[in-house]
């Protein structure tokens, strides 16, 4: 894909705004609702903590690249890379797709001390993300590369990293919304239209 920086950032900010608003809504829930698990599926808090763990890596990595980026002959048009585009598309929430992915062991939120603090941490990460996204408007998102959490050896174009990271957040916020809806018996438990981690 080819897109103007500002357009890309605006789109990502809009998506993140929705996610933040959703999660702010969770603050009114009881601890029981936040921790409720439908079988093996993640609770709301587990979804958010999983995102927090990714944020711990990516917020630092993204900021690092923004600060060390050379900025000469900066282009404000972003062109996706093959690998980056693949990862981003993999993450994007699409209806009617069945893909179960195992989450990396160190990003597993289970068996952790989760509470309302988890929500607060997520909201702070979202604030920082908005901050970073706006700073990215003037960065060359094609030539600046960022590492992925799995290994330092693979670097994606920063624009793709931003897409991947934001779509990942969207995915798990939607998963958390489902976890809430399931508690009210609104959603069919066997429905498989979302990518979920096991």
């Amino acid at each position: 894909m080819q897109i103007e920086n500002n357009q890309l950032i605006d789109e990502l900010l809009a998506r993140m705004k929705k996610c933040t608003r959703s999660v702010k809504g969770f603050e009114a829930l009881s601890v029981g609702q936040l921790q409720f698990k439908n079988g093996d599926r993640w609770s709301i808090l587990e979804c958010l903590e999983h995102l927090n763990l990714y944020g711990d890596f990516y917020l630092v990595e993204i900021e690092k690249q923004i600060l060390t980026n050379p900025r000469r002959n900066t282009s404000t048009k972003f062109k996706s890379g093959i690998l980056g585009n693949y990862f981003a598309n993999l993450m994007e929430v699409k209806e009617g797709k069945i893909t179960k992915m195992k989450s990396p062991k160190d990003k597993n939120p289970s068996n952790k001390d989760l509470s309302i603090k988890t929500i607060n941490r997520f909201l702070k990460q979202q604030e920082q993300l908005v901050n970073l996204l706006n700073q990215c408007r003037s960065i060359d998102l094609t030539r600046t590369k960022a590492a992925i959490s799995l290994t330092n050896l693979v670097k994606l174009r920063l624009g793709d990293t931003l897409r991947f990271f934001c779509y990942h957040i969207e995915r798990h916020v939607v998963q958390a919304e489902r976890a809430l809806a399931e508690q009210h018996g609104i959603v069919d438990n066997k429905s498989k239209s979302l990518l979920q981690h096991g």
């Binding site: 944020g55 711990d56 630092v60 603090k117 607060n120 941490r121 702070k124 990460q125 604030e127 920082q128």
Partner: protein, 177 residues
């Protein structure tokens, strides 16, 4: 300690009947709420902590006999950036802002003691600032133990480690050496 002022506050709290018992893990105040009171700890212990994007930082403890509050929020009226959490079952006398200032403004003696209280707090803050600038983990521990010798009896290890800005592993190693 500013005995007269404290006694006045506690008597007033008694007659206003604002006593509360917090169970372990309960919050006296949460991030985002506006602090309207100060808390006198009759029994038990609390910790004050701040959450960043990446971690939880314990910045203060309150033991039996101490007064604690989310101070900046109390003073400015802005939302608290701190949580205050009970480390175990904790009995607290809650003194609302209005009551505090009624008593403080009763006369020159109470006003004078309130000033002394604040001065003490400022000095404590500078001590804490030096804590944080102290490179050596051993020294950091020694500084805090000097102020609170019963620290390890009152507070779980992981929170002490957070307060001292070191991992629980490092803290254990220092204590065992």
């Amino acid at each position: 300690m500013e005995q007269f002022l404290i006694k006045r506050l506690l008597d007033a709290a008694d007659s206003s009947g604002i006593n509360k018992i917090f169970s372990k893990g309960e919050y006296l105040i949460k991030d985002g709420q506006v602090e309207q009171s100060i808390y006198f700890i009759e029994s038990g212990a609390v910790r004050v902590f701040h959450i960043t994007e990446f971690e939880e930082q314990t910045i203060r403890f309150g033991y039996e006999g101490s007064i604690i509050t989310s101070l900046s929020s109390f003073i400015t009226g802005k939302p608290s950036e701190f949580y205050i959490e009970a480390l175990r079952k904790t009995a607290v006398k809650i003194i609302p802002k209005q009551l505090l200032f009624e008593i403080v403004n009763e006369g020159p003696e109470t006003l004078h003691q309130y000033n002394k209280l604040l001065e003490g707090l400022i000095v404590q803050q500078m001590e804490r600032e030096i804590d944080l600038l102290t490179e050596s983990p051993i020294k950091r521990l020694q500084r805090v133990l000097g102020r609170s010798p019963n620290l390890f009896q009152e507070v779980p290890l992981k929170y002490i480690a957070s307060y001292l800005r070191m991992t629980p592993e490092t803290l254990s190693r220092i204590r065992n050496s």
